[in-house]
């Protein structure tokens, strides 16, 4: 998000050799790649009633008493994950940029670990570790939920750290910090009045990615016996025909809505990032 808004100050002219219709062709092919499966899913989801196209599958989906609780549980998990992740990642990335630039490769490596370790390995490791004293967290549903959120926080690190790090690189963190210090600002004032506002777009894009991961996550939630959207959807696929497609479309719509919100909120501060870049 941040990188795209920064690089948008640079006008890239298409190579003279590429004709207009070629560009359009590429655009159409790529669009079809995304739109055909989406269209097919949508079409399928409308066939919930025999011989008529309609929203029967959606009606059934929302009428299912398990759907909304699973959905809201996933949303609450996502929000908790985002908050916790921001609290850990922003100060860490800020401090690494400002004081410990030599540690950056180490921190980058650590944040990449969730990519390297398969979810299934991760979840069994976690269950083994936290299912015995002194860290008995799998005993009740709620404590497992806390554990699940902590795992999601770790899963969000690669996205969150990269977004925040990009945001920090787009502004001159060190000089802005020093300017604020010499004007008499203490650390909370620097963080909340100078650094956070200038990272708004980066924080939002990190938050969006985290949101998307948590909403759709299946493996870990399933093995930790949590009633979130992922296991719900998997269960639906096994037992129903049209509702899973309706569910996919709903999830897709929510993701786009979230992106729209980020674009709307982020538009104000993307200009600032551009300015810093051209200094």
């Amino acid at each position: 998000m941040t990188t795209s808004s920064v690089s948008s100050t640079v006008v890239i002219k298409p190579p003279a050799t590429r004709k207009r219709w070629e560009s359009w062709l590429i655009f159409v092919v790529v669009s079809l790649y995304f739109l055909i499966p989406l269209g097919a899913t949508f079409y399928w989801s409308l066939r919930g009633e025999k011989d008529v196209l309609g929203f029967e599958a959606y009606r059934k989906l929302f009428a299912d008493t398990n759907f909304l609780p699973a959905f809201s549980e996933s949303i609450v998990n996502a929000i908790a994950t985002i908050m916790l992740s921001l609290l850990i990642v922003v100060p860490t990335a800020y401090w690494v940029t400002l004081r410990l630039p030599k540690l950056r490769p180490v921190v980058e490596f650590i944040t990449l670990l969730p990519f390297v370790i398969p979810g299934i390995v991760l979840v069994f490791g976690i269950i083994r570790l936290y299912s015995r004293p002194p860290l008995l967290l799998t005993a009740t549903y709620d404590s497992s939920r806390v554990l699940l959120i902590c795992v999601y926080v770790a899963l969000s690190f690669p996205y969150m750290f990269r977004s925040v790090d990009n945001g920090l690189r787009a502004i001159d963190v060190r000089t802005l910090t020093e300017a604020a210090q010499s004007l008499g600002a203490n650390w909370p004032a620097i963080l909340f009045k100078v650094i956070f506002p200038n990272l708004r777009v980066a924080l939002l894009s990190g938050a969006l990615l985290t949101f998307a991961i948590v909403i759709g996550e299946l493996t870990i939630a399933l093995y930790m016996a949590q009633h979130t959207l992922g296991p719900y959807m998997a269960n639906l696929t096994r037992s129903k025909v049209y509702e899973p497609s309706a569910m996919a479309i709903v999830a897709f719509a929510i993701t786009w809505a979230a992106m729209g919100i980020i674009d709307f909120v982020g538009r104000g501060s993307s200009r600032h990032a551009q300015m810093i870049d051209t200094d």
Partner: protein, 353 residues
């Protein structure tokens, strides 16, 4: 005791000595420049005054108080950066009011001070704009206003003009100096540009490789450089290898041509290898007036530089540049012709290496 006193400051990063025994007393209202090439320690010294670096040894006192180890936000200093460092998320007015805001000053007092500062830098029409909507020169003026709004005891400027284009650089330089004089504020200005330092300062500290080379008024620094480095770094300079031929009379031999110098070379022996330096503008043609040194020369090259014409002459085997003011009726010699140039013995400098 002087207003700002930097005494015996040394700064080491690991084994590297960046600033070595820096000593300076600055009077209230004085404008002092630190001048030197990059890596000479001038910015590090400034940052120690600002509190961003803590000296390895030595003390800094400001208005009688020891501030050597005080945190930057506990000192009352205004800092101006090369990159302006305006807060991108705040308007001009919010930027200027930031320092007073974090000090929890009353709202009316802040808006009054902000207004005062905005009119000081003549940006009344831009008070509600964001930094990205301003030119570089305007941004740097906002940053000046922001630093001054908190009534700092010292204003620190870290190469504030280096990112600007030539015209703006000259006009903003004059503006900074005028505002500094008007407010009577003590200022330290770091630059690598000798013209900037000469034009703006009450005093200049010339630094090289962590050491202070010379401290003096711009006039002293330019006309009476004490070291070869200062002479070379400030202004342009001809330098030639020579040997001492009479230490008492001050005679030196430059490739077979005898020069007389006013520099003290009594401590040297006949035959010692030395270097002599002459500023290009100290030479003139004999037709105008004869001075202590009258030297036969051949005109090698003529370069037109606008207000100045630079003539390269060969005296014996050594080549020297000579600057003369341009005027439309100037009668320039032909290239290859033989002429005589002259300079006073004070113009011939023998400097410590």
């Amino acid at each position: 005791m002087s207003y700002l006193s930097i005494s015996h400051i040394t700064k080491q990063f690991g084994d590297t000595v960046v600033v070595d025994d820096f000593n300076l007393d600055v009077e209230k209202g004085e404008f002092v420049s630190f001048l030197g090439p990059s890596g000479c320690g001038k910015t590090t010294t400034l940052r120690m005054v600002a509190g961003f670096e803590i000296p390895t040894a030595g003390r800094i006192t400001l208005d009688g108080a020891d501030i050597t180890e005080k945190a930057p936000n506990q000192r009352n200093v205004g800092m101006i950066f090369q990159s302006y460092a305006l807060f991108p998320n705040m308007t001009v007015a919010q930027n200027i009011g930031f320092g007073l805001g974090v000090r929890k000053e009353p709202k009316e007092m802040i808006s009054q001070r902000v207004e005062e500062m905005i009119s000081l830098i003549n940006l009344e029409k831009h008070a509600n704009k964001y930094p990205y909507q301003l030119s570089g020169g305007q941004q740097q003026r906002v940053s000046l206003a922001r630093a001054l709004a908190i009534h700092p005891q010292v204003l620190l400027l870290d190469e504030p003009l280096s990112a600007l284009d030539a015209k703006i650089r000259v006009s903003l330089r004059a503006e900074i100096r005028a505002i500094q004089k008007k407010l009577g504020i003590t200022a330290i200005f770091v630059t690598h540009d000798q013209e900037e330092a000469l034009s703006i300062s009450d005093r200049i500290v010339v630094m090289n490789a962590g050491l202070m080379e010379q401290v003096g008024t711009p006039f002293e620094i330019y006309n009476f450089p004490q070291t070869q480095f200062v002479a070379n770094f400030v202004g342009s300079l001809n330098t030639a290898n020579a040997e001492v031929s009479d230490p008492v009379k001050g005679l030196v031999n430059v490739n077979g041509v005898q020069f007389i110098t006013a520099s003290d070379i009594k401590s040297r022996k006949k035959g010692d290898a030395i270097r002599v330096s002459v500023r290009p503008e100290r030479f003139s043609f004999v037709s105008e007036e004869k001075k202590d040194n009258v030297l036969d020369c051949v005109i090698e090259n003529i370069t037109f530089l606008g207000s100045v014409v630079r003539i390269q002459v060969r005296i014996g085997e050594a080549k020297f540049n000579m600057d003369t003011f341009n005027n439309p009726f100037l009668d320039l010699p032909k290239i290859g012709s033989k002429e005589q140039v002259t300079c006073s013995k004070e113009a011939v400098l023998v400097l410590d290496e």
